[in-house]
Symmetry: C2
């Protein structure tokens, strides 16, 4: 039994477009309807053909849906929810894919009183964006975190979880607040730091931008990938998950200061101890299939 028969995707970028492709690949009998606020994106989506139908209005997209997934930036969730409120069937489940969950859950509940809301976050993506960037295997063996909110029917979360399993993901249930603290450290802080160091490097006077680019293979290029992510998405994430991000940032700054002192005072043992400890985390990530085990992430060397 498929968990849903008619799935509507609002927002046809990297994630929305990948969900559509994955549904067509893994649940081909499910009808996929899409809508995007940007007419160019709708045009591209129609040309690629990853939806059965792309509608010109959000209301027309949801009118017979049993699952609606809002795949828009976190800061635009409230408006996207409000735009479907009038046409949303009473029994439809509304979900999303945002990287912060507490504020997003509140925004959806406010815009859709009386409706069934099950926020979710597939922890997957690339540095690309737009309807062309998606692919059907994006969620394979990645985690999707479903964050049920109080007062909603229990089986709604179960059905959303089953939907994500069918798309290839592993599913975990978690309270929205805990999600936001976990992602602050595994995703939001890394992005903030990557954006910062790439900015720092490009502002130097005595080292030219051309030198930074040339010699990036020494480590810097690993940071530039996530610093090339969608600026609107990440602005919204930092504003929405402000408290957890600031707390993790504070801890990171303290740890960095300790290392700075160790370097200044020539404490090689302290450096060595930390540098040895961090290898275990990488090993865990590889063992659990969350990254490519090949050196250099499997970059081609030819």
């Amino acid at each position: 039994m498929l968990p849903f028969a008619r799935v509507t995707i609002i927002g046809l970028g990297l994630i929305g477009g990948s969900i559509a492709r994955a549904v067509k690949a893994k649940m081909p009998t499910v009808r996929v309807t899409g809508h995007d606020a940007d007419p160019d994106v709708r045009e591209t989506a129609r040309a690629i053909g990853f939806c059965d139908d792309v509608t010109d209005t959000p209301g027309a997209a949801v009118i017979d849906a049993d699952l609606v997934i809002l795949c828009v930036h976190v800061g635009a969730i409230g408006a996207a929810a409000a735009a479907i409120a009038e046409d949303l069937p009473a029994e439809a489940i509304v979900s999303d894919v945002g990287s912060c969950k507490a504020e997003v859950a509140r925004a959806m509940a406010d815009a859709l009183p009386g409706h069934i809301i099950v926020p979710a976050h597939p922890v997957a993506g690339t540095e690309r964006s737009g309807p062309e960037a998606g692919f059907a295997s994006l969620f394979d063996n990645r985690w999707c975190i479903v964050t049920p909110v109080e007062g909603m029917p229990e089986d709604a979360a179960t059905r959303v979880a089953e939907f994500w399993r069918r798309l290839g993901a592993n599913v975990e249930m978690m309270a929205p607040d805990h999600h936001d603290r976990v992602l602050a450290v595994t995703s939001h802080l890394p992005h903030l730091i990557a954006y910062t160091i790439v900015g720092t490097a490009s502002d130097l006077e005595e080292v030219t931008q051309s030198e930074v680019i040339k010699y990036s293979a020494g480590g810097f290029r690993d940071f530039t990938r996530i610093a090339a992510s969608d600026p609107t998405m990440w602005r919204d994430v930092f504003l929405s998950n402000r408290e957890a991000v600031l707390e993790m940032l504070q801890r990171f700054s303290e740890d960095l200061t300790a290392l700075q002192r160790a370097i200044r005072w020539g404490k090689g043992d302290e450096l060595f101890d930390l540098f040895s400890r961090t290898r275990d985390i990488r090993r865990g990530i590889i063992e659990q299939g969350q990254d490519d085990p090949a050196p250099d992430f499997g970059r081609s060397h030819n």
Copy 2:
């Protein structure tokens, strides 16, 4: 005309082993002799067979060499140079592959007075180490920075540069001090920050290590690769290039504080401006062939 006929490699880890393999692949008539202080590494190197000969002492390895490359950790360069001093032919050129150049150049000059020294740094590597980790194409289209020191015959640097070009690298000449400032930002600071954030994440109480590993696909995993690099190598780098690293770290901390304030006070425009600016650097790196253009570094998605 090949720049050298008999090349000796002291230290048969990732870089030394890759140089040996690259010489055999690209200059098959050149005789490659190797030595490593660790008998297990010598045994492995003999079994793999990437050298024509692996000697049990450093002296025996250099006795008829015209190029000797010290491929040991930066902190061990002085001792490695001293160990070959007695047997080194007067006309041989001594080079290295260290990630810092000013201090390394001084250590080699002190240990080998009257000899010809041409420090160099191939900006290439992976998170792996040891004799099994190397491969012949490691330097293809990567940069090798040659940092000539005053008072040495000019054609020595030219020959070392030609050697690296034959191995597939692009070569740039640079003063040792400038090299150390460039690499502080393109390599040393990124490693320091990656080690720090992986340490910060593993020290959290309320977010478990298992959660950090599970949800690492959100960005964190990009940092764990370089934080899995050789701890001895990196301890030595930070101690050797202390001043430049501390200065870059100071700039980074200031920039991070500015972003922290922008998040705290909800200044979305400031965040958006930085996040847009950093995309250009990534574009430059891709255009100049210094990284894989595929999304996610070309990680396999299947």
